[in-house]
Subunit: 227 residues, 2 copies
DNA sequence: CAGTGGTCTAGACCACTCC
DNA sequence: GAGTGGTCTAGACCACTGA
């Protein structure tokens, strides 16, 4: 809306110039907000916004109670895709088969409810689904679905597809880690002793409510994320 | 720094909730800043920050002099970030310490050369680096570097930083998998028996030539990718 | 014209870290 | 305790839009 540069933009550029010129090398401490206020003669909120945006852009690291520091040069954003299992199998040119190992509906007991941040007694669906490529198991999907958030859920459909259609605006929080399998998981996934599991956890939230939590177990020897 | 929700975060969530619940469908106008100020009883700067960040995140579109509108649904790329270990540790507010466990230079024997797609006899540097957050090991970096592609390499610097600076245009191919650790890895990473390793492999190529291959081992109980 | 977002100010309180 | 960043307030002026 404004043609002339906003003051916080000027401050950002001022800091970037100092970094680019080598005055403030990576790792160096940059002046505190109060020092910049004094030096530049502007209000602290303006300085704060400038430095905060530089932090969001990864040019600066801020540590509360300590100071702000020039970030190390960015190595590329480096992301890796986490495709739905059907897509992962299709990408390898194999056939996707799946079967429901177990399925139930019940009301959340207090411990489970607390874990999911839902009121106790919330109606949940549970499904244990085994996915295979050419009859070799590659994923065990252990899924809880909040039926209040997704009343249309039915066991005849893959939860991933169903959620994408039922909750187009949902946000997904994902984690990836390595865990040893428990006995049943190892058995269902036809894993050797000693073999590790790649575990992907997906928490789907819609309107701030947890709609689904999935734990996806994969045999370490047959599943690998790639970009 | 603060564990309890900041007020602007609450406002963001409030708006996201309304969008998620369908109260405010895509394209709909959301209340003006002044309306939100009156409705929520907070200052305009706080409302402004909330809505401005939602705009940055692509959930809302703002038009000066007109109003703010719910953005059309984003096709969610479903990716997860793989930060350099220094950044991962910094993001948790811990101190990053590292030491070179082993380091060598030699010419690639045929098997290794074939594995990397390089001519036999290529000069390579090898480094085994242990990374710790607050003295607790979280990554064992096992790295080969093609000295023909990166002649400037020296052991005094982290390979990640060095590569980012020496080969700004390089492409990285990454994989993520779960493996059981071998004895030495488990020992260096201070892992319990049975514990699994999250293994990230990075192959850096510059101008079609493999410049570096890194295998990054992480203790499953202490390292997790997240978005 | 009234309403919108964009920006800025000069204070303030807090939690945290380091000494 | 002094210093840091994190947040919030209650005002303000501006450029822009649309009836």
């Amino acid at each position: 809306m404004t043609d002339i540069a906003a003051r916080y933009q000027t401050v950002k550029q001022h800091i970037l110039d100092r970094i680019g010129s080598g005055d403030w090398p990576p790792g160096a401490r940059i002046p505190s907000e109060n020092e910049l206020v004094a030096e530049l003669g502007i209000s602290r909120m303006t300085v704060n916004r400038a430095v905060r945006e530089l932090a969001q852009e990864g040019r600066v690291v801020r540590l509360g109670g300590v100071g702000s520091f020039v970030a190390e040069p960015q190595s590329a954003p480096e992301t890796i895709a986490i495709p739905p299992i059907a897509q992962w199998i299709a990408g390898r040119g194999r056939a996707h088969r799946w079967r429901v190992v177990e399925s139930a509906r019940f009301e959340a007991r207090p411990e489970l409810a607390r874990l999911y941040g839902l009121p106790a007694g919330t109606r949940l669906a549970f499904a244990l689904i085994l996915h295979a490529e050419n009859d070799r198991p590659v994923q065990l999907e252990e899924r809880h679905i909040n039926l209040d958030a997704v009343p249309s859920y039915a066991e005849t459909e893959l939860p991933d597809d169903m959620l994408a259609r039922a909750l187009p605006g949902a946000t997904t929080h994902t984690t990836v880690e390595a865990v040893p399998p428990n006995r049943r998981t190892a058995e269902l996934l036809d894993m050797k002793a000693q073999e590790s599991c790649l575990l992907i956890t997906k928490r789907v939230e819609n309107a701030g409510i947890v709609a689904s939590i999935a734990r996806l177990f994969h045999p370490g020897s047959r599943f690998r994320l790639e970009n």
